[in-house]
């Protein structure tokens, strides 16, 4: 019998009790007549009604709750899912306890299974770590994409290279950061080649040149096909090197060549013509001769000035061509120590070590030659080396007790070879390449002298830590994306786990967006192929342009001081829009957050028209609206630990985990595609309805 039958049965029973009692009363006291019969009948019916009430309270409702709990445990695959506290149900005897025991046993089994799986995963993980370390150490940017140009893997260098950290992510289109035309062309060419001759692996990689999407950088790339075991093309790997700087150098080189050939040739031509004319006509009148002499003088001066300029240009040109890197002065001195110790000389780094730019080995050799020479000339054995900060350069001050080096002597040193063995460069070559010209003078300390060596300033900031968006252990690849068949099916038909999600949460000054409440923080995290990519988390504080009500601070912990100087929402939203991309946006009570975003649409022009999924609505559909569905309660129910509750990112990660647990249960119910879930939850209509509630009384 179904549940609806139960009240009917009780109704029939009450009717029967009424009839029976009525008949019995009439039989026992026929004189009492109708009234006694009705009273007895009513009492009988009331007794049945009371029994029904008791049954509802002590058996049916607890049993239903129990059944719901059991279903939840069964449908959830996690080992931490348990029954919520059961209410006393005397009519069910010890059934709840027995079921509780069963659930406990199931949890233990699940835990063991998970432990075994984790041990296996840890072993695989250890091997993966090596691959990851190697990949992250590569200086070339690496992207692996599927045939739809969606990123399945990237490394830190790739993120640095394209300079759009928020646009690089797993499952993202490579077209969001690079101009795709050359890649499409190369892919097409390689695929055609592969189809023609599948056994020619050497043919399966091709060089190409492409630009960043905004055309600010130019890359030299190489593409290689990824062939699956069946021989089909499943994707491709590209490595990228930034050649913007080299192109600029090439252009400068061209300009130099032009100056040498065209400009100088003209001047030399004039000079020669004048000289030849004077030689051919030795008897020419004095005024004419004077004019020719002036030509010779003028052109000689112009040539000489041009040669000076060109010389400087060429030196500058060479400066950029030699492979150079940022070097920490402390590292350089550490390497210098052993060589100096051999001759009984000690160099001490003084002051704060700075960064310089240069060719490390050449610089090291140059420093060694200089210190050795000073030691030989002055007998000094103790040197202080102090980096000095200049406007556009960094200087190394080498200080010793004794006299300064005479300029002529220093000039002679420049002609010394920089290293003892091999094809050594001269000290002058090395220093010129570093744009350096040393000089010596008395030091501020009495009786001491200093040799100052100007060096190139580093490309990095002197003291700021190099910002790296990529965390130490990022999730930077997901080959599950390979299996994806994008573009050939509508969103509704796609499997829940195949979709990209951006789970997000806004902390706000209050609950009424249309009455001036503002977003003060946005947190978001991407979920791709059922994996929460915490390494690609998004968290921004937003200046709300109004004070944060003290009452709301206890919910989000964000104070006026936290948001002071932060960008306003108009500056944040375009970046968040780029982060969200085309993903499904997910929130717990998403209507609330979407409303805050949509009220800004007119002012910012940023529109979030992504499909939206609400974890609260899914939970309501699964367990009925009468249960509580707050994030706290649900996390408790599913055994999800929240770190950083009520911070935008903490809530977001918890919501993402909740979403995955809910997916387990949806699938257990036979709901596999996005369309099925949207329909089952009546998601679109519910969201609209709830959105309208948030706007009520204000529009």
């Amino acid at each position: 019998m179904n549940e609806r039958g139960v009240p009917l049965l009780y109704g029939a029973l009450a009717l029967a009790a009424f009839a029976l009692a009525f008949a019995a009363a009439r039989h026992v006291a026929p004189a009492g007549g109708m009234l006694a019969g009705v009273a007895a009948g009513a009492a009988g019916a009331a007794a049945v009604g009371a029994a029904w009430q008791a049954g509802q309270r002590f058996a049916t409702k607890p049993a239903r709750r129990l059944a719901r709990g059991i279903r939840a445990v069964l449908e959830s695959r996690g080992p931490d899912a348990g029954l919520s506290a059961t209410t006393p149900a005397p009519l069910l005897a010890d059934l709840p306890e027995a079921i509780d025991g069963l659930v406990t046993a199931l949890r233990a089994t699940r835990r063991e299974a998970r432990k075994a799986a984790q041990a296996e995963a840890a072993r695989v993980d250890a091997q993966k770590t090596w691959l990851e370390a190697i990949l992250q150490a590569l200086a070339e940017g690496v992207f692996v994409c599927n045939r739809q140009h969606r990123i399945m893997l990237y490394n830190a260098a790739a993120v640095e290279l394209v300079r759009a950290p928020d646009a690089v992510g797993l499952g993202r289109g490579l077209g969001d950061v690079l101009a795709l035309a050359p890649l499409r062309h190369s892919l097409g060419r390689l695929e055609a080649r592969h189809a023609e001759d599948p056994d020619a692996p050497a043919e399966l990689s091709a060089p190409f040149v492409c630009t960043s999407l905004d055309r600010s950088r130019m890359f030299h790339g190489r593409m290689a096909l990824l062939i699956d075991p069946g021989g089909g093309v499943s994707g491709y790997l590209v490595t990228l090197v930034d050649i913007s700087g080299e192109l600029a150098l090439l252009a400068r080189g061209d300009a130099l060549r032009r100056a040498l050939t065209r400009d100088l040739r003209g001047m030399v031509g004039n000079l020669r013509a004048a000289a030849e004319t004077m030689a051919t006509f030795p008897e020419m009148p004095a005024p004419d001769r004077a004019a020719f002499e002036r030509v010779v003088l003028d052109e000689s001066e112009r040539i000489s000035a041009s040669l000076d300029t060109l010389g400087a240009e060429i030196r500058g040109h060479m400066l950029g061509r030699w492979p150079m890197a940022d070097i920490y002065v402390a590292d350089l001195l550490k390497l210098l120590e052993p060589a100096l110790a051999e001759i009984g000389v000690r160099a001490t780094l003084v002051g704060m070590p700075l960064w310089v730019h240069g060719d490390s080995l050449s610089l090291l050799q140059a420093l060694e030659v200089l210190v050795r020479r000073i030691h030989q000339l002055t007998g000094a054995t103790a040197f202080d080396i102090e980096p000095m900060l200049g406007d556009r350069r960094v200087y190394l001050d080498i200080e010793w007790e004794g006299a300064p080096i005479p300029a002529g002597e220093l000039e002679r040193w420049l002609e010394l070879p920089c290293a003892e063995e091999g094809e050594s460069q001269l000290l002058r070559d090395v220093l010129e390449r570093h744009g350096s010209e040393p000089w010596s003078k008395p030091a501020a300390r009495p009786g001491h002298a200093v040799l100052r060596l100007p060096l190139l300033a580093p490309e990095r900031a002197q003291f700021e830590p190099q910002s790296s968006r990529t965390p130490a252990r990022p999730e930077f690849y997901d080959f599950g994306l390979l299996r994806e068949h994008q573009g050939d099916a509508a969103l509704a038909a796609r499997k829940l786990r195949d979709l990209d999600y951006v789970v997000f949460d806004c902390e706000t000054t209050g609950l009424q967006p249309a009455q001036g409440d503002e977003i003060i923080q946005i947190g978001a995290v991407r979920v791709v192929q059922g994996r929460i990519l915490t390494g690609e988390g998004y968290e921004r504080l937003v200046y709300p342009g109004r004070p944060i009500p003290p009452g709301s601070i206890k919910f989000h912990g964000v104070t006026d001081a936290d948001v002071a100087g932060k960008p306003p929402i108009g500056e944040i939203l375009p970046g968040f829009r780029a982060y969200a991309g085309e993903a499904v946006m997910v929130g717990h009570n998403a209507a609330f957050d979407m409303k805050f975003l949509s009220v800004k649409e007119r002012a910012t022009g940023v529109r979030f028209d992504n499909p939206v999924l609400d974890t609260m609505l899914i939970s309501m559909m699964l367990d009925g609206a009468e249960e509580e569905h707050s994030l706290d309660v649900l996390c408790d129910r599913y055994g999800i630990a929240i770190t950083g509750r009520h911070t935008a990112l903490g809530d977001t990660i918890a919501t993402a985990e909740l979403m995955l647990r809910l997916f387990d249960r949806l699938e257990a119910k036979g709901l596999h595609t996005f369309g099925e879930v949207m329909a089952a939850t009546n998601m679109a209509a519910e969201l609209r309805h709830r959105g309208a509630i948030f706007a009520q009384g204000t529009e």
Binding site: G351, M388, D391, R392, A461
Partner: protein, 126 residues
């Protein structure tokens, strides 16, 4: 709690950034101005203990700023250390004549800058 406050005035971003870092490392509260007018604006907003003032600045140069400061009675307590180019004795003399308390020549030693600023801090305990 900050041990003192410094206004760094330099238009070279590398220098300004480095000085800001060095001063913050000493526990000083630091603000940065990129030209002479911005420097005066920053002084009007709040008076620091020490101003590190570059000579070559856009809009109003370091001498001009120095002179204005000394002509403003309510800024009397401000200590000014000028950052001058190497070997330009004339710059140093001029700076001191216009009311600077001290000067440091560029390129400078990070050690020296820190020591010099601490020396001029009213609460310098070190």
């Amino acid at each position: 709690m900050a041990n003192g406050s410094v206004l760094v005035v330099d238009d070279e971003p590398n220098i300004a950034l480095s000085l800001e870092y060095l001063m913050k490392g000493q526990g000083f509260e630091v603000r940065v101005a990129r030209d002479g007018e911005a420097a005066l604006e920053a002084l009007r907003e709040r008076l620091p203990d020490v101003m590190l003032l570059d000579v070559m600045l856009p809009k109003r140069d370091g001498y001009d700023v120095c002179q204005t400061v000394r002509a403003t009675p309510e800024w009397k307590g401000l200590r000014i250390i000028m950052l001058t180019a190497r070997g330009r004795a004339i710059e140093q003399e001029k700076g001191l004549a216009l009311g600077a308390d001290d000067y440091i020549t560029k390129p400078f030693s990070t050690r020296e800058v820190i020591e010099r600023v601490r020396q001029y801090m009213p609460v310098a305990g070190a």
